[in-house]
Subunit: 350 residues, 4 copies
Amino acid sequence: MEVMSDRLRCAVLGATGLVGQRFCQLLSGHPMFEEPDLYGSERSENERLRDRLKLADRPVSGDLLEKEIKRLDTDVVIREHYDAVFSALPTEVAGQVESRLRNGGVTVFTNASPHRMDPDVPLVVPEVNPEHLRLASNRGSIIANGNCSTIGLVLTLAPLVRFGIERVSVVTMQALSGAGYPGVPSLDALSNIVPYIKNEEEKLRAEPRKMLGRLKSGAIEPWDVEVSPFCTRVPVREGHFEVVEVTFREEQDLPEIVSSMEGFRGLPQEKRLPTAPERPIIVRNEPDRPQPVLDVDAGSPDRARGMAVTVGRLSYGGRRLRYSLLVHNTIRGAAGAAVLLAETYFSGGF
Amino acid sequence: MEVMSDRLRCAVLGATGLVGQRFCQLLSGHPMFEEPDLYGSERSENERLRDRLKLADRPVSGDLLEKEIKRLDTDVVIREHYDAVFSALPTEVAGQVESRLRNGGVTVFTNASPHRMDPDVPLVVPEVNPEHLRLASNRGSIIANGNCSTIGLVLTLAPLVRFGIERVSVVTMQALSGAGYPGVPSLDALSNIVPYIKNEEEKLRAEPRKMLGRLKSGAIEPWDVEVSPFCTRVPVREGHFEVVEVTFREEQDLPEIVSSMEGFRGLPQEKRLPTAPERPIIVRNEPDRPQPVLDVDAGSPDRARGMAVTVGRLSYGGRRLRYSLLVHNTIRGAAGAAVLLAETYFSGGF
Amino acid sequence: MEVMSDRLRCAVLGATGLVGQRFCQLLSGHPMFEEPDLYGSERSENERLRDRLKLADRPVSGDLLEKEIKRLDTDVVIREHYDAVFSALPTEVAGQVESRLRNGGVTVFTNASPHRMDPDVPLVVPEVNPEHLRLASNRGSIIANGNCSTIGLVLTLAPLVRFGIERVSVVTMQALSGAGYPGVPSLDALSNIVPYIKNEEEKLRAEPRKMLGRLKSGAIEPWDVEVSPFCTRVPVREGHFEVVEVTFREEQDLPEIVSSMEGFRGLPQEKRLPTAPERPIIVRNEPDRPQPVLDVDAGSPDRARGMAVTVGRLSYGGRRLRYSLLVHNTIRGAAGAAVLLAETYFSGGF
Amino acid sequence: MEVMSDRLRCAVLGATGLVGQRFCQLLSGHPMFEEPDLYGSERSENERLRDRLKLADRPVSGDLLEKEIKRLDTDVVIREHYDAVFSALPTEVAGQVESRLRNGGVTVFTNASPHRMDPDVPLVVPEVNPEHLRLASNRGSIIANGNCSTIGLVLTLAPLVRFGIERVSVVTMQALSGAGYPGVPSLDALSNIVPYIKNEEEKLRAEPRKMLGRLKSGAIEPWDVEVSPFCTRVPVREGHFEVVEVTFREEQDLPEIVSSMEGFRGLPQEKRLPTAPERPIIVRNEPDRPQPVLDVDAGSPDRARGMAVTVGRLSYGGRRLRYSLLVHNTIRGAAGAAVLLAETYFSGGF
């Protein structure tokens, strides 16, 4: 990546939520972006980021910690002419706010779900389908990353698509942080499994079809493969674990599959973007890996910690590939996804 | 206890909360009370208890499970002329609702805190100060049990009072269920300690002074000893653990203290009330007891499970007694406390 | 079941382990069996059961709690001429000890795995394949229950077999108690998933083939269907959760499948055996059930708590049935399985 | 600190244990020390550090990850003439091994307990009693850090000593990592408190007397104040939480106490040692801090993360000061303590 003499101006909407805080961590000291302005709800108006921080695992610069949170007003945001606005807004408000911003000419990188399936909204994993970014307009657009579980799945499916996939079945064990804050009550979480996450399976069914679809004359032709999900919540702080079964149309060779996954690289790696992990997929051979505690922060260099997906227990038989994966749900699956998306967008070449 | 030919009619207010559900468990098949009528908020109106149950560790009769929850209306409750009304109402509404019921002639046994320190409200641990029940009027009254942590503490202090206590210091490690449902967010609970529980230390300071006070000419003269508490929340489902340091005014003999605790009995034991544990205080000699997982349900017979407080690691030196205790916070510290209180009240003899 | 005037004499081997303690709970006050004699390793010799108890969720009679644990000596056990010996021995010693006992004429009901796949050892879920008990000899035999995860799976597959199963895929989330004591280190368990359990998938692949096989001229013809498992350990105290995908050879009708599961009964239900749940499979319609905390103890009457398997989220499409199940791994999946097996064996009629 | 042109040669003994791994993290890329050689038991011989790593929260250099672990042989270690040897050996072997090394002329910085109370072994918290390092001989010596709970306590007591302390009472809630690996069985840890840690209270009673003692004519005159501890284990991964009550001999002024704590600095801060936190004690005013999840890694600059102790809820009344503290038990309470000790030793000026 060429050094940028002038860093881009940006803002984080919903800065006090869990994903908003991740945005702050990832944009703190970022080589392409200035420290973001922070917008939140009435409740957090005039508070400093420092007062609301619930995450302590990555440093945030002193300047950013002291920044006051402004009350979100779309007119104000539009008038600021930010280069990029990162949205960590809750679902209930994201739809309308993001539409208004787009209409006001703003480029919104959003982790929220309401616009993901809109035909003119690119839904992108930067290593997988950066060319979908061409859907975005220079005069205001919404650019979306996918659902946290979807991103981990799609990143590992991308190198497999060329082998001819017939069907995908996935069982997820999702971390508590995926429900945000306050999220899951502790009495439901402690020593328990909640075998249902509202709207989650719908997203896992729909989003891969768009992400792995083909851009044809300005529209996306969906990937025509059924994804069959079963989603659960487990007492893990951070890191979605997924057990995947891929059925191919024809017999395959396991070593070839493994080297496809290990060798997988995309545009962000090519451009050496700041938040891009050197290896998007890390394949482990130990039978007891990946584990959330040990692998959730996989990814190097330092700014890309949590951006690599770890894959384990690859096995094959009878046209079926089985593996497990671990994705850092609030980094690669949320804030980090949107930041890498913005880096990709502003670096061009897609 | 003599067999009661006619069981008393009763109701549970706030039946869908965690303590409300404990009331249902404890009143199911109760020899003195009929299955209770259930009252809740608008949200649970017309739902059956079965649909709201979040506790599965004690059986509830099929009849009670199928009972519909009625919307709480104080006029309706008053007109029903229940013998006993058990209140598991949230603090915000308990104060006013309970006052209205009392004024309407109802006898309310409450786990809620707003009226606990009212001069005309008996605040009673049945083994400790049953004579305070004389404060209650036949024409409507509120009868309160104490805070969950207070009850465990006061029950173990009761046999020590006669040795002459100068000061009490207590550090609590309180279970998640104490915060009700949804209560503590799982991200605050998992692998963490929250070293503060709002209003809890105030209760631990004030309530023992009333409970251990003397009834004199219709008023309670407070026990004049400072209780100095520090309260924390720990990732334990059920069972408050407390480390207590009691300073005596004079030197004492440890074996005598131990046998005072072990031998402690009260009116409920004398009357063999249904929910009374044979031994209110169980002293363990193993260094690693009590533990929540192993001792939370201490107490026999079966209907008194969770009603005994377990004490461990008694040590003495320099006028100071140290021990730990475990109290089942939603049984002995809440619903069971109120049920035993009602049993005591209706059995008389205090 | 007719009342038995004379209860059977029995013993528990490995009485101090987690499964051994479950045996003690389940045999305490049992209508068919006397309180068991207890055998353990050198370490626990002469200790009382009370001193070793790590489980407090079910009562054990005072007599049994005070019983001394004897050091296991096969000659002594043989000379005692017990009607039934329950083995909760660790894998390393179970194979040899159980062989010796069988050769000495003892009837061993074992939860241990070494002999499960022996051709002359019946591997039985009493509701599913009681006729395999005919393999047992009157002059000494080993009768085995299956692996904890297998039992839950096979019990729910049994009513589906007649629809014609082509393939079974299962992802397990297994409780910590399944690893016994000390078992999983807490640093591996807390807020983590361990995606591998040694030898577990092998058992899940092999055992259903034997259990669902047909007894033909004194040998078992295996069920010829592939079971494809992926096993993980999650931070749950008790209750194995499994996500199952069954592929049928032909299209099926979901309501018919549901009523097959709900209506499923076996010999233990017919004979009303003490530990038999009225309904072996409980189907829940709520999307967020079963959950370990709420459903692990499913099963009535009281003695059958933890013996019912709870099934949820049944969905069907394209010859594929998806559902989740929860099985109490140390009751229905271990000690309860063996006790029900013994009840079935001694009641006859298989 | 002046830049050191030549870094010191060092080794870690017991490199594969939890504290050994912390040593590796803290010595990786250290400005004063070369990457350490690694010694372990027979079991880990010839394995690489990478294969044994159970900690992923701090980076370790690639070179160090690839280093082979050598089998510990004291003769070999002596012959290597290391400048510093860091011992994370288990208690059972540490005593003898460390004596041999000292007799062989080695300077051992140890986290192990056997030699801590030896009269010729300095037991040092670098900010508190660096002058005790004068006890160390140039021709071989053992230099010890204290027990994990003691260090947190003593660091916060140090600025209070001058006010005249009469008595100290402390209740600890200690993290699972303090028991090492495998350590506490998960069934004892999950949703539980274990109210006893073997030998821990003895250490908390004895060590502060030595650390806060005065060096007089080559011997330490103990601090003559009683420390009264009660230690428990709680389900927290990392971070010991302690509730402290300090009784002064005379009335004190709280603001003065607070500023004493906040302003506390020692030799490591003066010398700006690499692992020294700018502020050894961080006082928080929010009622719900410190919390393990939020504050365990307190300390800056980056190399000093986890080296600051966080204090909260300071309150005062009747000659008694109450506060809570959080100390990172395997960093400030173990490996970080020894590394800062070595930095202090080699920088001189004590």
